[in-house]
């Protein structure tokens, strides 16, 4: 993590180099991260990692064309070479369509809390002691744990040739815990700006691993009502970022948003937003083009509102900027990194009690959304806790099941949402993640199951 002064010194050097290389406009991002990840399996800490990294990304505009280059070395010579590479890229690129220039409005940033001193200072030994306590507790129930426990602190600085200067320090902590018992596994996850409580997660995963441990039933493929825990829903909406929500998915025609802006496409009880301001989520004040974050409804009460675009594609596609650039010059041209699904008014217990014959899903595994993107047809399997609900009661464990389901259709059949929501991390996004309630969806299409060898 670098100071404000260190970060802006590097960014000023980059902008000066861009100017010297002939850029008419330029912007740059300097990100520095101290990251610590402990991986464990078989109740043994087997990979313990500490990384300090820093990267400069420079984007130049020349004759309305864009070029991008990045480096991990920050002396004057290397920065000048990076600017020359970006300039060379811009020289050979075509003019951006309808481009109105880099961000210059310089609106004030929202005030959000992003940093926790204790999390930034946590020592590897303290994390190892917490894991050891979790391992010891699990051994009393013949449970073995696997998972990962991460903490990190980053500084993110953005500057452009129109005088925009943004800087923020941020901490994050996340953990995934899988509890493995004799007859099944359970799962728990947490994501926060402050250090997460891995021991409590171990207890939660143990509950799932031991629930109905002596009652295992089978089920035939077919359509069943499902109760989806937030990690399951998060994996689906993560894929929507790629195939539905991004500027490039809209532009290439693969997104079901195309020709549906302003139209009711899914159920009126479904609202999906990009929301980095919600204090219950993972607040962050700006995107990497320097635009202030705001809540942006992507699907509002079932009506399609806007894709998540960077400024280049906001101009190209004629949408208002959504402050969702997380990769200068990236081919996705916008991603919703703070995916927020509105909650409802139910509790998990109420959703289960209202289910005559259904399946309670802890999480999904290996979802793929590339089958038929126009309907967001996806496939995946369940894992780490799949349960049969009969007459409103959780009565048995089930094998892992394969499903193949249009998400457009599924989100049109939401029968209930919990008031409580939980945060879930994604591997490709260290700025945010997903916050989601538990969903009850009618008629989820299960197409197969994990059979024995």
């Amino acid at each position: 993590m670098r100071t404000n002064a260190d970060s802006f010194a590097i960014l000023e050097s980059a902008l000066n180099a861009a100017n010297a290389a002939g850029a008419s406009e330029a912007d740059a991002v300097f990100e520095s991260t101290d990251q610590n990840i402990s991986r464990f399996a078989n109740s043994n800490l087997h990979q313990n990692m500490s990384e300090v990294s820093a990267e400069l990304t420079l984007r130049v505009i020349v004759d309305d064309a864009m070029g991008v280059a990045s480096t991990t070395v920050f002396d004057a010579g290397e920065i000048a070479r990076t600017a020359a590479l970006a300039r060379e890229a811009a020289k050979h690129s075509d003019a951006l369509q309808n481009f109105s220039g880099l961000y210059r409005a310089n609106e004030p940033l929202p005030e959000v809390r992003t940093f926790d001193d204790a999390t930034a200072a946590i020592a590897p030994a303290a994390k190892a002691r917490a894991l050891r306590e979790m391992f010891d507790r699990g051994s009393k129930f013949n449970i073995q744990f696997a998972g990962a426990y991460g903490t990190g602190a980053s500084s993110i600085a953005v500057a452009n040739s129109h005088g925009i200067r943004r800087y923020c320090t941020v901490t994050s902590s996340d953990a995934t815990v899988i509890a493995i018992g004799a007859n099944g596994s359970g799962y728990a996850t947490a994501l926060d700006r402050a250090n997460v409580d891995v021991v409590t997660l171990g207890d939660e995963a143990t509950f799932k691993a031991t629930l109905c441990k002596d009652t295992i039933e089978d089920i035939e493929p077919g359509a069943y009502d499902v109760i989806l825990e937030p990690p399951a829903t998060a994996e689906v909406v993560d894929w929507m970022n790629l195939i539905t929500l991004s500027g490039s998915a809209y532009d290439d025609g693969s997104s079901f948003f195309v020709n549906n802006i302003g139209k009711q496409v899914v159920g009126t009880n479904f609202t999906l937003a990009d929301d980095a301001l919600d204090p219950d989520f993972l607040p962050f004040p700006f995107d990497l083009e320097g635009l202030p974050k705001r809540r942006v409804a992507l699907i509002e009460r079932g009506i399609v509102r806007t894709p998540a675009v960077d400024k280049v594609y906001a101009d190209r596609l004629g949408f208002a900027p959504t402050a969702t650039c997380w990769n200068l010059g990236g081919t996705e041209h916008g991603s919703a990194f703070h995916l927020s699904i509105d909650g409802g008014d139910a509790t998990r217990e109420e959703l289960i009690r209202s289910t005559k014959h259904g399946i309670w899903v802890t999480r999904f595994n290996y979802v793929n959304g590339l089958l038929e993107p126009k309907t967001a047809l996806m496939t995946g399997t369940t894992r780490d806790g799949t349960f049969l609900i009969r007459d409103g009661e959780v009565v048995a464990r089930l094998p892992n099941l394969r499903w193949t389901q249009s998400i457009v259709e599924a989100f049109s059949r939401i029968e209930g949402l919990t008031r409580e929501r939980r945060r879930v991390a994604t591997w490709y996004n260290h700025f945010g993640g997903t916050i989601a309630p538990v969903l009850k969806i009618g008629g989820w299409n299960f197409t197969g199951k994990q059979s024995a060898v």
């Binding site: 078989n42 043994n44 990979q47 190892a128 995934t176 894992r383 394969r402 197969g448 199951k449």
Partner: protein, 480 residues
């Protein structure tokens, strides 16, 4: 800054913890350039240089790893001290004995070969090549998007260890491909050549792009994307299935490559993408596939992106069987996992860069060719489906239940390829599927495919691997 051998050996010698059992240092400089054209314009032209150092130490039974993007000598020393601190912490929650397989010290240099340096080709030439390939694909209103990609990759790596090894390696790679997206109403079809996600990749220079012959292949890609718009949907139900080389390469990747990673089988990767149904007790006595199925791990294939001189444990590249005449006989292993099955490392531990911890990764995991020409296999198939080019992939957390979607399929009727079919999906159970393989085509249809985007580990590491595969036939497979 590129460290000298004496600097690295000096830092290794300075690690004084009395419990230190092993240490290594890696330095990498990774250069990437990507050119993408789309609908007649240059959409992406990016250039990145990533430098990193990583220090890995084993103190007692605790591993510690520290990395830094600052590669100065001062940073190297701080990073080494941090690795020892992290290893000490690991011992608090380390509950298992770490045993390393023996290793010989190696002092060596290795480099992949190329004829024409990718960076010697001017950017203008790369752009012109892609525009010349993709512009003729445009013109039909239903063609919504045409695009082309060329990628250049070079990684320089230095490895030094307390086992006495000092190894310098350089890998140079190129990749390229084209894509057409056709849309008609709600119908959306994508067709690519030679593979999706940037095309095919080899450890080679510009000569590989020339061999791909993108300008000549592109029109066929466009025509197939348009034809798919009106093609009937591939039927659901059980049928005989012939899988083309490119799709079968991914089938090998997901249903053989990953489940034969020993760390996965030992539960060490459960938290991310799960475990493996192939357990050590099954080694040598489990029928994975039919007698036609021979799958090798081979990090020595010239020109492939899964090849190298030494892995990131300092173990030389090797060739060995994973599946031999259908029997499960081997795992991909590293020094800290191989002893669990009573073997020595077969050299498959790699990291994306020095900033990441080395873990078991696929190399070139190849389905060996059979003896029957593909045309004869088709002629011998009364009724079935031929599928090619991956579109979607999903497999469960034990690598058992899989589902794959392909870009295109063709009916087979009375030994002849018939109508084109769209949106084919097939599903199955891994060993049942491979046991149903009754014909593997000969070397004429065998090709090695570079996959530069294999994800594993936490933090996620994207590894460059490859798979050789011919076409093959599988009986009574579930479609849809």
């Amino acid at each position: 800054m590129k460290p000298t051998r004496s600097q690295l050996e000096d830092i290794l010698a300075s690690l004084r913890d009395p419990g230190l059992r092993y240490a290594d240092i890696r330095w990498t400089a990774t250069h990437e350039q990507h050119v993408r054209v789309r609908n007649g314009e240059v959409e992406t032209l990016s250039s990145t240089i990533d430098r990193a150092i990583g220090v890995r130490v084993l103190v007692g039974d605790g591993w510690g790893f520290a990395a830094n993007s600052d590669t100065s000598e001062d940073s190297l020393r701080r990073t080494a001290r941090r690795a020892v601190e992290v290893a000490a912490a690991s011992n608090i929650a380390s509950t298992q004995r770490v045993v390393l397989s023996d290793i010989e010290p190696h002092v060596a240099t290795w480099a992949s070969s190329f004829e024409i340096d990718p960076w010697s080709i001017p950017i203008e030439q790369k752009i012109e090549h892609l525009l010349a390939s993709t512009d003729p694909m445009r013109g039909d209103d239903r063609i919504h998007q045409v695009s082309g990609d060329i990628s250049c990759y070079r990684q320089e790596k230095i490895f030094a260890s307390t086992a006495g090894s000092y190894i310098e390696q350089t890998t140079t790679e190129m990749g390229g491909g084209v894509e057409a997206v056709a849309i008609d109403g709600s119908e959306f079809q994508r067709r690519t050549y030679p593979n999706p996600f940037g095309g095919d990749f080899q450890a080679a220079g510009w000569e590989f792009i020339e061999r791909l012959d993108l300008p000549r292949k592109a029109l066929g890609v466009r025509d197939e994307a348009l034809a798919l718009l009106t093609a009937p949907k591939a039927p659901a139900g059980r049928t005989d299935l012939i899988i083309g080389s490119a799709q079968l390469a991914l089938q090998v990747h997901e249903s053989c490559g990953h489940p034969t990673e020993l760390d996965r089988a030992m539960g060490l990767e459960i938290s991310l993408a799960g475990g493996s149904f192939l357990q050590p007790s099954m080694l040598g006595n489990f029928r994975y596939g039919s007698e036609h199925v021979n799958i090798v791990g081979d990090a020595t294939v010239p020109g492939s992106i899964g090849s190298f001189g030494f892995d990131d444990d300092g173990v030389p590249a090797q060739r060995f069987h994973l599946i031999e005449k259908g029997m499960f006989v081997g795992y991909l292993t590293g020094r800290d996992t191989a002893p669990a099955i009573g073997r020595k490392s077969n050299g498959t531990v790699r990291a994306e860069t020095a900033a990441r911890i080395p873990i078991i990764r696929m190399t070139n995991i190849n389905l060996e060719p059979g003896t029957t020409p593909l045309a004869d296999i088709i002629a011998d198939t009364k009724r079935g489906i031929f599928v090619e080019t991956n579109k979607s992939w999903s497999i469960d957390d034990l690598r058992l239940n899989f589902q794959f979607g392909c870009e295109v399929a063709y009916e087979i009727e009375n030994g002849r390829l018939g109508r084109m079919l769209k949106n084919p999906l097939y599903t199955g159970n891994t060993p049942e599927f491979w046991r149903s393989c009754d014909a593997v085509a000969d070397r004429a249809s065998w090709q090695i495919w570079g996959l530069p985007n294999c994800g594993k580990g936490d933090p996620m590491q994207t590894m460059r691997v490859a798979h050789g595969a011919p076409a093959a036939r599988f009986r009574d497979v579930e479609m849809g």
